[in-house]
């Protein structure tokens, strides 16, 4: 640990951050260092460690100090570590947290994991040695020093021998695993070819296949993980398994759907179901295929224009959703998707879809402006209600609505009811110009 120097944590010119990892504790050799809760940052030139609470406490070490490094696997109650062996301290090293150490290696203990990526990136940097090509603007003390040369050589030989042995052993295990894997893949490939041949025959109608046989074939494909577009066209991707799953899901989702206003996105369902299962989880495709088979059950799968997929209760009709959207917007005069989400207790994604649906049906109008708020942040789109104009706009109850799509006329901005105060003249023009074509004709009637 005496190879580290105090640093300010800022990158030098030509120095780039490669990867950082939180939750890393430092060890001086085998002893825990006082530097226990921090993040380690790897740059093209240095290894930096910074305390998580006190950002002023920051130390660094040039990568040239590193001789080599190795992984130390996690154990019971022990985090995985990377052990880094270092050159002796150079004479011109800047002061750091340790004046002196009896060890020539340190350890990084990854309490929040991340050692795999870090090790990979560190290997890359140590191979590329980019600090040699583009020296950072401040001169870095390097790890070479002739005086320490001889002592270094002796220690290193032993260490290198140890790595070599370990590498050989790991290699042997891996290569056996890879060999077995290759053999397995050859057999799997045979299965793929057989299935292709069968699928082609089904397509060309060579021989009579019963429904049962087709279903069985599909379940074989499912087991092997083979996709088959031919059968999918004629019979869909679902199997008996998915049919059963659909029934289970239909029952299981009743209560959660009711709680969430009758609709949940497919990703919400995915998380809910898999969290409940704990094991033998469903793949996203399993879920999708099961939902496609809902048909005569209590829920259905629905895809919105945006591509968002939801599971919806049969009992929740489209009219109800649009009516509720209209009600809420009428109450408030105008609503953003976020506000609507809060009102209904829905996710922003789904509340937006409802408002879009109402817009599609001609009941709502969208004001797509970009607004500045007081904190200089930007708010999203606003959905506002189109008002029905009569000769006496003031007398008309603002909450009245008919079941037919509202007439596409705007209130005279000169008539000031509370709800229409949002509509300034500019906005009306803007909306008209944006291609809400039906408005143009009406607006030109006068009343602007």
């Amino acid at each position: 640990m005496d190879r580290f120097s105090w640093a300010n944590g800022l990158l030098e010119i030509n120095e780039t951050l490669v990867i950082q990892q939180r939750g890393v504790r430092l060890y001086d050799g085998d002893d825990k260092a006082k530097l226990e809760a921090g993040a380690v940052l790897l740059t093209t030139h240095r290894l930096i460690w910074r305390d998580v609470k006190n950002h002023e406490c920051c130390i660094s070490m040039p990568l040239s100090q590193i001789i080599f490094f190795e992984e130390q696997a996690a154990g019971i109650g022990k985090s995985a570590k990377i052990v880094i062996h270092l050159h002796p301290t150079p004479a011109n090293k800047e002061p750091g947290p340790y004046q002196h150490s009896k060890y020539s290696y340190i350890k990084l203990s990854f309490k929040e994991h991340g050692q795999i990526e870090f090790y990979r990136r560190l290997s890359e940097e140590m191979t590329q040695r980019r600090w040699e090509n583009t020296p950072a603007s401040q001169p870095m003390p390097t790890g070479t020093s002739t005086q320490a040369g001889r002592t270094r050589a002796v220690g290193i030989v032993g260490i290198e021998r140890k790595i070599e042995e370990k590498r050989k052993e790991t290699d042997k295990n891996i290569s056996e695993a890879f060999e077995d894997l290759s053999k397995l893949m050859v057999k799997a490939k045979e299965m793929v070819e057989v299935s292709r041949s069968i699928a082609n025959k089904i397509k060309d109608k060579q021989g009579d296949i019963t429904e049962d046989e087709t279903i069985r074939f599909k379940s074989y494909l499912l087991s092997m993980g083979i996709a088959n577009p031919v059968t999918r066209e004629t019979h869909g991707s679902g199997t008996h398994y998915h049919m059963q799953l659909a029934k289970q899901l239909g029952d299981m989702l009743q209560a959660p759907l009711e709680e969430r206003g009758g609709m949940m996105s497919l990703t919400e369902v995915y998380c809910l179901v898999n969290r409940a299962r704990g094991m033998e989880l469903l793949s996203p495709e399993d879920l999708l295929n099961a939902c496609k088979m809902f048909e005569s059950l209590k829920c259905l799968l629905r895809v919105f224009d945006s591509g968002v997929m939801v599971v919806q209760l049969q009992s929740h009709s489209e009219e109800e959703m649009i009516a509720s959207a209209l009600d809420n917007v009428t109450d408030k005069g105008s609503l953003t998707a976020e506000e609507f989400a809060k009102l209904l207790g829905l996710s922003v994604l789904l509340s937006k879809e409802r408002l879009l649906l109402a817009e599609k049906m001609g009941h709502l109008c969208r004001d797509d402006s970009v607004e500045d708020t007081r904190q200089d942040f930007v708010v999203g789109t606003i959905y506002a209600l189109r008002r029905v104009r009569t000769d006496d706009a003031r007398s008309r109850a603002p909450r009245a609505r008919s079941s037919a799509p509202l007439a596409q006329i705007f209130t005279d901005p000169g008539s000031h009811s509370q709800e229409s105060s949002d509509f300034s003249k500019e906005r009306l023009q803007w909306i008209g110009a944006r291609g809400y074509a039906r408005l143009d004709a009406e607006i030109s009637d006068g009343g602007r």
Binding site: G225, Y241, F377
Partner: protein
């Protein structure tokens, strides 16, 4: 016309079989029966493999990558279904599907801040943190594969190449080439201005404004109109440890004038 019923149909079928056997081709039905036997054999090979190397898959991300790539080469998707052999016997399924859940949760938790766009690095960090000390470590390749699977659920998951790594999108916002290029430009400093876009990409002001407005509307960018010079469009997804810090509400109250 009903299939396979009655003496006439049986005779017809026998004739067809005979014809096919003459030519040396096998009927589809026979092949399906044959396949069922081959499947049993394959299953036992897989079981043997699993008993020897299941741990390797769990522990060694390199091995996982090799495994996935080999499967892809021969046309097999080991993650297609939880009911597949691969998933059941090697346990690969649960590993990736659970990761999928964790990825969705992290993205959802941060959406209010970054609009649904997050760097792969940050996602990786947060997923690791969420998994806790005693869970299996995951590599970025693992995350990428899990994300690819999430796409089928239509929630807008996708990956945008930026600055040597990726931005992970988790909302169905439409991002075309123009948007992507601006994101890439913003990657270095975490923000971008209209002038920078005009200079680097040689666009007109309207095109730059249009793209930036879209990013603002989707909640992916924040506008700093008080910046010296001209307004800056910041991307929360690109905020890094070195340039930003999470602060508590108390600290925030002390800092604002």
């Amino acid at each position: 016309m009903r299939r396979g019923v009655g003496a006439g149909a049986i005779a017809k079928k026998k004739l067809a079989e005979a014809k096919y056997k003459e030519r040396g081709t096998v009927l589809a039905e026979d092949q399906i029966i044959q396949m069922s036997k081959q499947l049993e054999t394959f299953k036992s090979h897989l079981e043997e493999f699993a008993s020897k190397h299941k741990q390797e898959i769990r522990k060694n991300p390199q091995f996982r990558v090799q495994f996935q790539e080999m499967c892809a080469t021969i046309g097999v998707d080991p993650l297609a279904s939880g009911k597949g052999f691969w998933s059941e016997m090697l346990g690969v399924g649960d590993f990736y599907y659970e990761l999928g859940v964790q990825i969705i949760e992290v993205c959802l938790a941060l959406k209010h801040r970054n609009g649904g766009l997050i760097t792969l690095d940050e996602l990786h960090q947060r997923v690791l943190k969420g998994r806790g000390k005693y869970a299996q470590d995951v590599s970025q390749d693992d995350l990428v594969r899990a994300i690819k699977k999430l796409k089928v659920m239509g929630s807008g998951f996708g990956m945008i190449p930026v600055g040597g790594s990726y931005l992970v999108q988790s909302v169905p916002a439409e991002l075309n080439m123009d948007h992507t290029v601006v994101l890439q430009l913003a990657e270095k400093k975490g923000y971008v201005t209209v002038s920078e876009i005009k200079e680097s990409l040689k666009w007109e002001k309207e095109r730059a404004s249009h793209v930036l407005d879209h990013l603002l509307k989707e909640g992916l960018a924040w506008l700093d109109s008080q910046a010296a010079g001209e307004p800056q469009y910041w991307l929360p997804a690109l905020f890094s440890e070195l340039t930003s810090r999470d602060i508590t509400p108390e600290e925030a109250n002390q800092m604002t004038p």
